[in-house]
Subunit: 157 residues, 2 copies
DNA sequence: ACAAATCTGTTATAATGTTACAATCCCGTT
DNA sequence: AACGGGATTGTAACATTATAACAGATTTGT
């Protein structure tokens, strides 16, 4: 599988995606506490994005349903450590599709099925970064998102 | 002034920006009703982004303070007709800096002073669009945002 | 003047995200 | 094993952003 294939929109063995992510999480020596683990599990179910409250509503451990801060803390942790990404256009979250090699990611978002494909690509348009650098701007993070309709949804699935 | 200069971070005659925008708005045969006009005026004060409620709080006409839908309707209208842009990273809005020639814009966002510079640039990273096209994705809109600290704010202004 | 379309007023509510502080758990040291 | 500091969780309240629904007013074209 090539590095910049939009896996999420292709037939693939998704259990591999899970495996890689979980292995990666463990290898980093992170403390994957119960809520973090559970949130990561939810996100890793597939390549759809989930809102914080969608996650929150599905979170549960021994009959205990946590409050909003619990979901946001876990999400912040996962995002901070590169195991998940925030999709600004959707105010939602996806599992990182390449936690082992995620430098700079862009996202292809289907507004029908909510699938989000992650693509490793150079940060932003070269023009934008060049222009920023030209005026001494210190760039810290970039958002690259393309929204539209995926091929499946165009064909009415 | 070159086309892809981040005007917002440069010394410039901002009254020109206003003029151009207002002229452009009128030329398009749009119905710039009072709220739309007032919201546009607020956005055109400078190149800072404003949240919908910041706008709402400052909106007022003959002593009448409108409700949220009024602000959102005006903003939706302005965005739809290219007179303003939504900044996804901030859930906020800026006046379009080049309403006369705005094809595809990226944004350079200072998290200190909230100034947002608009840069006319090719939509998204070429890689991202190519990859999307490769899988038959129908791209409708793209988000390109770079967040960081502007040169002014780095120097403690 | 009339009807249709657009815009506005108004109330209520939904969806998303944060603050603050106390209680608990984990981990390295004594 | 006891201790102490840092990280994590529990909990309640609250802040911010955005939309739904529907009635009334204004504008536009005929
Ligand atoms: Zn997968
Ligand atoms: Zn789709
Ligand atoms: Zn200006
Ligand atoms: Zn600044």
């Amino acid at each position: 599988m090539e590095k910049s294939e939009p896996l999420a929109f292709l037939e693939h063995d998704h259990s591999q995606c899970r495996q890689t992510a979980l292995k990666c999480a463990n290898n980093q020596g992170l403390r994957l506490t119960k809520w973090r683990q559970l949130v990561l599990d939810l996100l890793l179910e597939d390549h759809r994005s989930m809102g914080a409250y969608e996650i929150l509503n599905r979170l549960e451990c021994n009959g205990v349903k946590p409050q909003p801060p619990t979901a946001y803390r876990a999400l912040d942790f996962l995002v901070e450590h590169g195991l998940a990404h925030r999709i600004e256009k959707l105010n939602a979250y996806v599992a990182c599709a390449r936690p082992d090699a995620c430098q700079s990611a862009g996202f292809i978002i289907c507004k029908e099925c909510n699938i989000v494909a992650e693509v490793e690509c150079s940060p932003s348009s070269p023009e934008l970064l060049r222009v920023a650098a030209n005026v001494g701007f210190d760039a810290e993070s970039t958002v690259m998102e393309v929204e539209g309709i995926c091929s499946n949804c165009q064909n009415g699935n």
